[in-house]
Symmetry: C2
Subunit: 302 residues, 2 copies
């Protein structure tokens, strides 16, 4: 089934202990789309500037991503610069230039209206709600957010949380939004706000899934080489939602599989700068890494 | 098979967001022993002062722990005071009084000499080596350490690492000791220093096991209530080594089970202050929680 994502497309400049990449294609909607494209047909709603050229467009077309919703506006594309050090668990933002993203008013093309799976990547919650309302027939709507909106626009955020199915946030955001320090309590509080499925991303520590009365924990894969964590969370969300859209199955066991596929995709994303590794994949590598997660977590009865 | 532990016995004063406990029985050897006593016969080598009374002794005897190696010295027992806040992942030390622990020279009683499983809890690495040398027949020797010895006595630490089988450290220590930021690389570097089995404790995130060519990841259990994380790492080590001593089996699949039993015991430890929860256990609760870890981690083929 088709999967629609709305979010940012950006040019990133990233510095890590392993090198530097300048003005490379990034943004939440980009990482999400490329990741999800390995599973299901993806449609993107985003805005880019006049500096977004054929080379960038080709990344989307090569992965078969529908870009009818990719609006081109006068001005420059959103730009972000950041730096990672030490364990690289968190980026230090060096520069943010919103550019065309500042006045982004997402429009869902008529051809996207029937989308059954939807992901509202991190943008202003009022815009997320606006998109949500244009997709009344969606079977499952996922959402990501960030500390800025939790702090600055909590009422808008609560409104959109009430009309989504799946919340995908990192653990700091989960604690901030719920006011609870213990993850289990945080998840329970978040589920009361609307989403019946809560996925908490924990960076190198993996991800947790919370549903009605059940918890699932997926580890991070211990990797030999982590070059650039940028976009790992959005890549995770892409694999997760992509698998759900591919299978059309929201059962507990399939949600768990989806968390593993999300983890698989994120584990690839960090192995190279930007989208590098995600564009060099093949299906057999995805299956092999899924099996690595099985090997990593398997243990017998006590 | 019998399991010997050498380490600290202490009186702790602990403040957490959930309350305060003063001068309660603690110390690495204590948490380790009580935890391991649910699996195998435990022998303890440690030192206490004149303030260590019948009430404290009863904790050991009640759990059937052999205290022939518990030396009583003139002066006061080791005392530690600390505070946890926020996510409670790390303690802030408020006070340390080494007291009788300052001049501790561990002596292994003749009746302990045949111990097959040994755990050298966190003490000066020269003392760990001294104990190791008194137990030439040991089948598996585990060791914990801390930032202080990694920084101050690296040569002594390297000497004892060369003659042990299992290293059990937290992830900050693993990174410090190996000089590697990526966990997989850190584990590989640590294995080159001697121990063929490396277990890395990650607090609420669980634990990782690294052996020849294999990695295993156990999650932390999302708990409704975490009251006091003191001793969780030593409790983990007690469950881990206890299961190995009980079964006498060092195969990969049994090491994985041991990591889960360690995680089970640690998940109980944090639910109450001090040893409270570990002394209120029964075997069926341990089995039930092992199954909770199975439910938490299970997923089907992709």
């Amino acid at each position: 089934m088709s999967l629609l994502v709305v979010g940012s497309v950006a040019f990133d400049t990233v510095q890590t202990p392993y090198g530097k990449a300048e003005n490379i294609l990034g943004g939440a909607a980009t990482y999400f789309s490329v990741s999800a494209s390995w599973f299901a047909p993806v449609r993107v709603v985003a805005v880019v500037g006049e500096d977004f050229g054929a080379k960038e467009m080709e990344v989307f077309s090569r992965r078969g991503i529908d870009t009818e919703g990719l609006e081109r506006a006068a001005g420059k594309t959103f730009r972000w610069a950041g730096e990672y050090s030490g364990t690289m668990n968190e980026a230090r933002t060096l520069d943010t230039q919103l550019n065309v993203f500042e006045t982004f008013a997402p429009r869902v093309p008529a051809s996207y209206a029937s989308s059954e799976y939807v992901f509202l990547a991190n943008i202003h919650p009022a815009l997320q709600l606006h998109v949500r309302q244009q997709l009344p027939g969606a079977r499952a709507v996922g959402l990501d957010s960030m500390n800025l909106w939790i702090r600055e626009t909590p009422d808008d955020l609560k409104k959109v949380l009430a009309v989504i199915d799946i919340l995908v946030v990192n653990e700091t955001e989960a604690r901030m939004l719920s006011g609870e320090m213990q993850l289990w309590r945080a998840a329970a509080a978040l589920r009361k706000m609307g989403p019946r499925i809560v996925v908490i991303k924990r960076g190198e520590y993996g991800a947790n899934l919370f549903t009605e009365g059940a918890a699932f924990s997926a580890p991070g894969l211990p990797l030999d080489e982590v070059k650039d964590p940028t976009g790992a969370g959005d890549t995770f969300a892409g694999g997760f939602m992509g698998h759900l859209a591919k299978t059309g199955d929201l059962s507990e066991s399939n949600l768990r599989r989806a968390v593993i596929y999300g983890s698989v995709m994120a584990s690839f994303a960090v192995e190279d700068f930007g989208l590098g590794r995600l564009l060099r994949l093949d299906a057999s590598q995805i299956s092999a890494r899924y099996r690595e997660f099985q090997n990593l977590t398997q243990f017998d009865a006590g």
